[in-house]
Amino acid sequence: MSYCKIVTDKLQQVLGWVDERFPLTANYKSHLSEYYAPKNFNFWYFFGSLALLVLVIQIVTGIFLVMHYKPDASLNAAGVPVAFASVEYIMRDVMGGKFIRYMHSTGASMFFIVVYLHMFRGIIYGSYRKPRELIWLFGMGIFLCLMAEAFFGYLLPWGQMSFWGAQVIVNLFEAIPVIGPDLSIFIRGDYVVSDATLNRFFAFHVIAIPLVLIGLVAAHLIALHEVGSNNPDGVEIKKHKDANGIPLDGIPFHPYYTVKDIFGVSIFLIVFAIIIFFAPEGGGYFLEFNNFFPADSLKTPAHIAPVWYFTPFYSMLRATTSDFLPVLWAFITLVAGLTFRATSCVWVKRACVLAVVGVYWGFFGLTVFGFTPPPIDPVILGVHLGRGFDAKFWGVAMMGGSVMLFGLLPWLDQSPVKSIRYKGGLYKTALALFVLSFVLLGFLGTKAPGYAFFGLIPGGPVAAVSTILYLAFFGLMPWYSRMDKTKPEPERVTSK
């Protein structure tokens, strides 16, 4: 017996011992070596594995940052907040700290880039369609966690933008009727963003949200491996199997897609390294310049801009002004009315009624009372909500709602085909307008409210039109996706 054979036998024994107690081999097979993925994945399919890579980068760099970071808003001997100074301490005095910090700060932006592209892939190839609705919803949960994680984490360097960004966003909760003002104090733990806020945001950032995030990532993958991956043609590979029950157009994830994804990783790391080593501030988009000033509750910056990945939604919040509300209400009433007529599901009908009631309240509040409390105190009459919601409430509802709309996609899309390859001009136009409005909103969100394109075209109306286009992509999808002239889907997957 050769030496090699002895080792192999021993390993087999160990593996057998483990397998009797834990399904190691079975899991390895069902998730890697015998998970059959369509063979025609293209460029867009790199971003799922890359999102997982960035998650690992963020967790590992995060662990090392926590070893040196101090969530403390008090001032040190030089008059600099301890939290702010501890970040600079990491940048200068911790071995390799500069790179750990830049990897973490760049990783945050890269996470959103990768996840936005991953979501775009899901949209164009219909990856959210039956039977993958739950994968999509788990993904939505991951996206929400990611936003929360980014928001909480952004307070930690305790710079001016950290402080005032958190102040603005927490203040938004005040718009919630009745409980709003108390809720925002409850969230901050103080009347302004302070040391109490910093400490609780730190706790959320390093443990609470990451725990939920990892759980959702596991659920996302388990659901995916249960139903199998979609592909650029949007056809099910499980319809055509060979004698052994293996899909004819499927290839084992390992080794085929593991080696392919490693190539994707190498390209991603090159981009990542270019940013970290040559432009870690990302031109003020990844690390905002103003955030190199320590937080100061007495100095409000002239322009408070969120980081780029929040700006499309922030822009929609800003676009929702009193002037814009009638247009918004008309649009919501139209979509709700159309949906009410078209659907047979009683719950959808009820949701439509609820939406129109909300609009009525808004209309009532603006026209009758001009957003001021009515002459008779409504609290006494027990109809606190009677005065209607103000523009701030609608703005906040818009910002939250515009994120949540993605979750409805599986039920909004009524097209007979999944992939954009077989969809018609109507859908492609809608998608192009959606992407354009998303980019415009994102760009305008980084600018001060009075911004005008080329100094001529005011940004406000552009943001308002973009907001309606964004909503229309979702709201009108049941109609244009059905009216659209589609091409027949192929039986089997096409090009490689």
């Binding site: 030089a78 008059g79 600099v80 200068r92 500069k98 290839i251 390209i267 190199f292 000033f293 490689k496």
Partner: protein, 252 residues
Amino acid sequence: MSLLNKFLAAAVLAVTITGALAAGGVALDKAPVRFDDASLQQGAKLFVNYCLNCHSASSVRYNTLTQIGLSEQQIKDNLMFAADKTGEQMLSAMRQDDARKWFGAAPPDLSVIARARASEDGSGADWLYTYLRSFYRDDSRPTGWNNAIFPGVGMPHALWTLQGEQAAKFVTKDDGHGNQIKHLEGFELVKPGSLKPQEYDEQVANLVSFLTWMGEPGQETRRSMGWFVLALLSVFAVLSWLLKRAYWKDVH
């Protein structure tokens, strides 16, 4: 892949338009930042003599200056006026409370000032370079000084013995709506300092170079390391591509 191409083309177009739109704002002079040891040492000398009296650079330790070609002994003999050991932070001797009493505000810590002052109008170095050359005499201010790009600044002109005293030349213009707006046209040197204007600009450039360096010591090393890392990753990319190709030979 045609969709990818269209997407990339659209992305390039969007970035170009965005770039074109982002221009505009206050005019800042371009700072001639130099990272050679001589300039940085000269900047360090100006910094400890003129700035460190009131401002701290608490994230910087004196021995960090060994990175710009100074020995520990040189630092100890020439640059340390308010510290005993080279491992100490660069702290101002002025108390925060006194500063608030005298100037209305505590002077900010300057460790990362060159990064904080960056904006769409220019780099942080550009802002500092313009700022330190834009002080002028203004009797309406408590310190007797004002600044063209930082109106109502609390700091008096710390480098005035070098630059001398400037007076601002204002021109009143109608803004088209009947309002008379004062525009700064330029400066006039009313009392020369110990340096000629050109020499002064040169020294401010040294100081600003030092402030930029101090914002992230070792940023040149970071960039040169970057090329090495990119070379390594490129090799990895080529190898992983070959590996992928070898495995995918039998997929049709």
